[in-house]
Amino acid sequence: MSENLQQYEGNTPEAVQDRPWVNPLVDVYENDNEMLLIADLPGVTQMGLSINLDKEQLSIVGTIDEEQVGTAVGREYQKVDYRRTFLLPNGIDQSKIEAELKLGVLHLHLPKREEVKPRQIEVKAG
C-alpha cells in the first residue's frame, strides 16, 4: 500500500494560496464548421482571463477584477477564480481558435479542420 501511495505522488497538485475557485457554467454547441464554447464569466476582464492550450487540453482561468469600495455590508459572492478544463476532440484546428468576451460571457470558437468537415459530393448526370 505504501508503494501504491508513493506512485501517486505528484499527481495531485495542492493549492499554495487559500483562494477559492468555482467552475463557470458552460454551453457547448457544434455546427458543420466549428464547435462553440460559451462560458459565463461575470466580472472577468480581458486582462484577468487566460486561455491555455496544452496538446488537447484547453483550460480557461479567469479572475474577478473587482476593486474594494468602502466596507462590505452584505456579501453574496466572493472574489473567486473561475477554472475549467476541457479535452478537445480530434479535428480541431488549434491555430485558428478565436475568443471574444462580451457582457461577461466568453465565446470561444473552435474551428474544425478542413478534412473533418462534412462535404457534399456532387452527382453529375452522365
Binding site: N23, E30, N31, V69, G70, E76, L103, V105
Partner: protein, 151 residues
C-alpha cells in the same frame, strides 16, 4: 526493537498522508459544485454584494449575458428593486452538446439602510457586473462635530 518502532512510525505517516489526500479531495468541493458562487441560497439570482462608502451605497450584482436594456431598477420609498430577464438561446444552426447556462427572470428587493438622494444615482453594466451607486441623503451622512473649549 528499533526497527519495530520505525515501522510503526511509517504506518502512522502513511495514515497521515492518506488523511491529507482524502481531505484534499473534498477541499472546496461545496463551493465548486455550486454555480452561484457560494453564498446565495439556491434559486437566488443574481448574487449581490452591498458596500457602504461613507457618502454612498454601492450594489454590485453578477449578471452575465444581461445587457442594460434587460435590466430594470426602481426605488419605492426605501425599497430598491432590481429586476430583469436573462435570455440564453442556442445559436442558430448549431446542435447542442452541453447546456448549463439557463435563462432566468429575476427580481430582487432590498431595504435601503438609510435615506438616499434619488437625484444622484448611477447604474452601469460592465463585464457582466451591474454597479449601482446611490448617494446618501445629506442627513444620513456621518457628521463631525467640533468641540470648543469655553473659558
Amino acid at each position: 526493537m528499533l526497527t519495530r518502532w520505525s515501522d510503526v512510525d511509517r504506518t502512522y505517516l502513511m495514515i497521515d498522508d492518506f488523511q491529507r489526500r482524502v481531505s484534499q479531495m473534498f477541499e472546496g468541493f461545496e463551493t465548486r459544485r455550486r454555480p452561484g458562487l457560494g453564498l446565495t441560497p439556491r434559486g437566488t439570482w443574481p448574487p449581490v454584494n452591498m458596500y457602504d462608502t461613507v457618502d454612498a451605497l454601492e450594489f454590485h450584482a453578477l449578471v452575465p449575458a444581461v445587457s442594460d436594456k434587460d435590466l430594470k431598477i426602481s426605488v419605492n420609498q426605501d425599497v430598491l428593486t432590481i429586476s430583469g430577464e436573462r435570455q440564453v438561446t442556442a445559436p442558430e444552426g448549431y446542435s447542442v452538446h452541453r447546456q448549463e447556462r439557463g435563462s432566468v427572470k429575476f427580481s430582487r428587493s432590498f431595504t435601503l439602510p438609510c435615506k438616499c438622494n434619488m437625484e444622484r444615482v448611477s447604474a452601469t453594466v460592465k463585464h457582466g457586473v451591474l454597479t449601482l451607486r446611490m448617494a446618501k441623503a445629506p442627513e444620513a451622512q456621518p457628521r463631525q462635530i467640533t468641540v470648543t473649549t469655553q473659558e
